[in-house]
């Protein structure tokens, strides 16, 4: 079935899968956003416990999606994996650190004799939520703003230094946060995650005090999110982009490249606009009609987030665009054509991708089974495994 597809079609298929995983990851970062709100929404120990437990049943989905996003990117576009991870070393290591400290915090936080103390694990959750989202946003933004690296496959014949992908400049990825575009996307992701976290609490928690504060937080975070997001998108549409000549593979700078991409791919434009509208609807409806709509906001904003991020990824990689550009050497830029796995591997992986709907189905079923009843203070008292 997949064997007969052309290499380019498979590359496009896999870029879409990776983009979808990236988009799902940003949606699932409601866990991270929620973690930064624990102290603001929870004033008593019980309230904090309710909040942490409602996130604690979902954190592994976010984590697993991150790991799968990495694995799928490695399998389908290994040159990205080797170039970006091995080059932008410090950014990725910082992100990894944020996730190690998260993984243990839920389980260890409230256990007696936990060595570092409950507060430390709560701070770990906060760091993961704040720094993790900002850094991931900034790292993804380099898909549009570019990085400084060179790729020479012939280096493999150099005995003294056979490394193919080499980062140029000493900061090894930290330079990404010196570019205001990258920081703007990082902060937009951060505030979006907080909005999604708030909406998630409105969906799963049954506690009047928490919900009252959540409504205020929704409004507080919506402002900065819109400012950073719109600033980023406007700058993106007006900026030069990295265009690829499909026949020669030559990369050149093109004025208004991303605007051209949007116009050349109307479906992506529609997905993008629809996504943004859904996010806004998910925020506005609960503010306006809280009692009827508060618990539904997450679904609008969540689906909107997935559509928006998905279309942003396609904007970076489709329509003959270099998705991981090098500003040091334009011709080293990564495109979906020059950085992918072989036809054979992409075909084999495509068969595996047929499992994805099945995976989504059982996740949905398990999620539904656990969420049938909202989390409240009484459950925290009786649940033996509460975090």
């Amino acid at each position: 079935m997949f064997e007969s597809l052309s290499l380019l079609t498979l590359q496009q298929y896999w870029f879409m899968i990776v983009s979808l995983l990236g988009a799902l990851l940003v949606f699932l970062m409601f866990v991270q956003g929620g973690q930064t709100l624990i102290f603001q929404l929870g004033k008593t120990e019980t309230e904090k416990k309710i909040l942490i437990n409602s996130l604690g049943r979902k954190w592994e989905f976010t984590f697993t999606t991150l790991v799968t996003f990495g694995g799928a990117f490695f399998a389908s576009f290994p040159l990205f994996y080797s170039t970006s991870f091995g080059g932008a070393y410090w950014v990725w290591i910082a992100i990894l650190f944020c996730f190690i400290i998260q993984a243990v915090s839920y389980e260890f936080r409230s256990k007696p004799n936990n060595f570092l103390g409950q507060k430390t694990y709560e701070i770990f959750l906060f760091i993961n939520g704040a720094l993790g989202t900002i850094l991931i946003g900034a790292a993804v933004s380099t898909f549009f703003t570019g990085s400084q690296f060179s790729i020479q496959k012939a280096n493999l014949a150099e005995y003294a230094n056979p490394v193919i992908s080499q980062w140029q400049g000493p900061a090894h990825g930290l330079e990404a946060v010196l570019n205001w575009h990258n920081v703007a996307l990082g902060l937009a992701v951060f505030f979006l995650a907080r909005i999604l976290g708030t909406l998630y609490f409105m969906n799963t928690v049954d506690d009047k005090n928490i919900l009252g504060r959540a409504k205020r937080q929704l409004l507080i975070n919506a402002g900065p999110f819109l400012v950073f997001f719109l600033a980023y998108v406007i700058a993106l549409i007006l900026s030069k982009g990295f265009a690829v000549d499909p026949s020669s593979g030559m990369v050149t700078m093109e004025d208004f490249k991303y605007l051209h991409n949007l116009l050349a791919m109307p479906l992506v434009l529609i997905l993008f606009l629809l996504g943004v509208l859904l996010v806004l609807w998910g925020i506005i409806r609960p503010l306006w009609k809280f009692d009827q709509c508060a618990s539904k906001g997450i679904w609008f904003a969540g689906i909107g987030t997935v559509l928006t991020v998905f279309s942003l990824f396609l904007l970076a990689g489709f329509n003959n665009t270099a998705y991981y550009p090098s500003t040091y050497d334009l011709q080293s830029s990564l495109t979906i054509m020059n950085s992918s796995s072989s036809h054979y591997t992409l075909t084999a992986m495509s068969y595996v991708s047929l499992l994805v709907p099945f995976v989504l189905a059982y996740i949905w079923y398990a999620w539904w089974s656990l969420n049938r009843k909202k989390i409240d203070a009484a459950e925290m008292e009786s649940d033996e495994h509460a975090y």
């Binding site: 989905f61 080797s82 991870f85 070393y89 990725w92 990894l96 389980e107 014949a157 649940d383 495994h385």
Partner: protein, 525 residues
């Protein structure tokens, strides 16, 4: 501008990867085995309806949960370190190596993380049977993830099902099934998961023995011991069988590793297996010193285990260094095998392959098809030795012999000791005398650290025994690293070491507290 690779960055990158792998393997074996044991106990609860089994299940499940998260945390680092620290590796073999990692995510991690939530939070929310199914699915998910990462690891030890493509400067997959079902992969998977099962069985035995020593929770302890000892005995026998299979594939595919495992410098026909031995300190290949200060061996046994033939020649480190012997492979007639080359010659051939690759790139760029065809042919005929071309001296191809030797001995001796322990425990349990045998109960408790030692020793054999290769014969560590400053890796090494150690201390403290609290309070505080 090309700066030379600093050898220190290779060492520190190796140290960082080893650190992460060591910590990861402190938590994962328990997850692999305990997930099944918990599922078995819950099955007993559902079958018998006895609430005591539910209490037992929940107690072990609490300990499972404490251990699980930290295995996840160290696992994500391993996956990303392939990129951060082994950038050249990630491109050179990413076309083959990436796939198992992605499949692991899609097929195993989601299964595990979805159903573990039901396992912990679903007791009062889903039906008994759905809960039980979730416990089994969590165990299957954990073990499936082991399958895919071990397939990936095995492929590094025995690269099959691929072909080098000079256009893309990487190896490309030709046959997925060859990668998945290579004999090395099959044995490594079965051997490693059995090690996890034995670890969990001994963990349960040890803690239950502690309860019996303290005369607390004797009912829970006795029931747990019975399940764990039966499970442990079966899986430890399987561990021995798969260990034999693994050693056989090492003899066939990685003879240098086998020589290091045995401390064997000069091989012979009908080679003996060293039962106990002390390798000569400071011994170097070719220095003429005796390789053992002391040894007791079983005659002919190594030839039988490694080649299934008592008369087979087993090459030692010096034989492999100097070549000139005929390797003996199973199902291959001696007439078809070629005399082994000395490593110095392999280095020459490797350099020919690498140079030919460079010439091919230049010729293609210049459009000189005649020169390209010539370079292509030179590269293909020498490609089997490609990785040797990056070595400076033949001695670089030798692993650390004493460390591999001692690790292998420790693992095997401990493995047989575990079998004996399970038999003893089952015997006294059946006689209803276990609670009176305080020496045995203490032994059970103190075997917990030993089972971790055995597991770590096993990985030292597997990973140090194959040095200097990241991909056997094709890519040594020095050609696989990322181009980053040594200082950066030193800093991250220290950061990881401090963080992982702090988390380990936290886990041990929490775990011992939960054990002391016992099942009644298990997980409620």
């Amino acid at each position: 501008m090309i700066l030379n690779i600093d050898p220190a960055v290779v060492d520190w990158s190796r140290a960082q990867f080893a650190l992460t792998a060591i910590y990861h393997w402190l938590f994962v074996p328990l997850t692999l085995g305990l997930s099944f044991l918990v599922a078995i106990m819950e099955t007993l609860y559902v079958k018998t309806g006895d609430p005591e089994w539910k209490r037992i299940t929940k107690f072990w499940m609490t300990l499972f949960g404490i251990n699980f998260a930290i295995g996840v945390a160290t696992g994500i680092i391993l996956e990303f370190e392939f990129g951060t620290n082994w950038s050249n590796y990630s491109w050179f073999v990413g076309d083959i190596f990436g796939a198992p990692l992605a499949i692991e995510g899609i097929m195993a991690f989601f299964l595990e993380s979805t159903f573990i939530a039901i396992m912990f939070f679903g007791w009062n929310k889903v039906s008994k049977k759905f809960h039980l199914a979730s416990s089994w699915l969590t165990a299957i998910g954990a073990n499936l993830s082991a399958l895919w990462i071990l397939v990936a690891n095995s492929w590094m030890q025995y690269p099959v099902g691929m072909k080098f493509n000079p256009e893309t400067a990487r190896n490309e997959m030709q046959n997925f099934w060859d990668v998945l079902f290579s004999p090395v992969a099959v044995h490594k998977f079965l051997h490693t998961i059995s090690a996890g099962y034995v670890t969990a069985a001994i963990f349960i035995l040890g803690i239950s023995a502690w309860f019996l020593l303290k005369k607390r929770e004797t009912g829970l302890a006795r029931k747990s011991i019975l399940v764990a000892a039966i499970f442990g005995l079966i899986t430890s026998l399987f561990l021995a069988i798969t260990g034999d299979g693994s050693a056989f594939t090492v003899a066939q595919k990685q003879p240098m590793k086998l020589a290091a495992m045995e401390g064997l410098y000069k091989g012979q026909r009908s080679n003996g297996l060293v039962l106990f031995g002390i390798p000569q300190p400071g011994k170097k290949a070719g220095d003429g010193q005796n390789n053992f200060a002391l040894k007791v061996e079983i005659p002919g046994m190594l030839s039988i285990l490694g080649y299934r033939n008592v008369n087979a020649f087993v090459p030692g480190v010096e034989d492999l260094l100097n070549g000139g012997f005929k390797p003996e492979f199973q199902n291959v007639s001696p007439a078809e095998t070629e005399t082994a080359l000395p490593i110095s010659e392999k280095i020459v051939r490797g350099k020919l392959a690498i140079t030919a690759f460079g010439d091919l790139k230049k010729a293609r760029k210049a459009g000189d098809e005649v020169a390209a065809a010539k370079a292509d042919s030179a590269m293909k005929s020498n490609f089997a030795y490609f990785g040797y071309g990056y070595l400076k001296t033949p001695e670089e191809a030798l692993p650390n012999v004493p460390l591999t030797f001692y690790s292998f001995r420790s693992m095997v001796i401990l493995g047989f000791y575990f079998i004996l322990l399970f038999i003893l425990v089952l015997y006294f349990h059946s006689k209803n005398q276990l609670q009176d045998k305080r020496w045995l109960l203490r032994l059970m408790l103190w075997t917990i650290p030993l089972v971790y030692l055995a597991g770590q020793a096993g990985w030292i054999v597997a990973e140090l025994g194959r040095q200097p290769w990241v991909i056997q014969d094709l890519l040594p560590t020095r050609a696989a690293v990322s181009m980053i400053e040594t200082a950066s890796v030193q800093i991250t090494f220290v950061l990881f070491a401090v963080l992982f150690t702090a988390l380990l201390i936290a886990e041990v403290m929490i775990m011992t507290k939960q054990i002391k609290l016992g099942p009644k309070d298990g997980g409620t505080k």
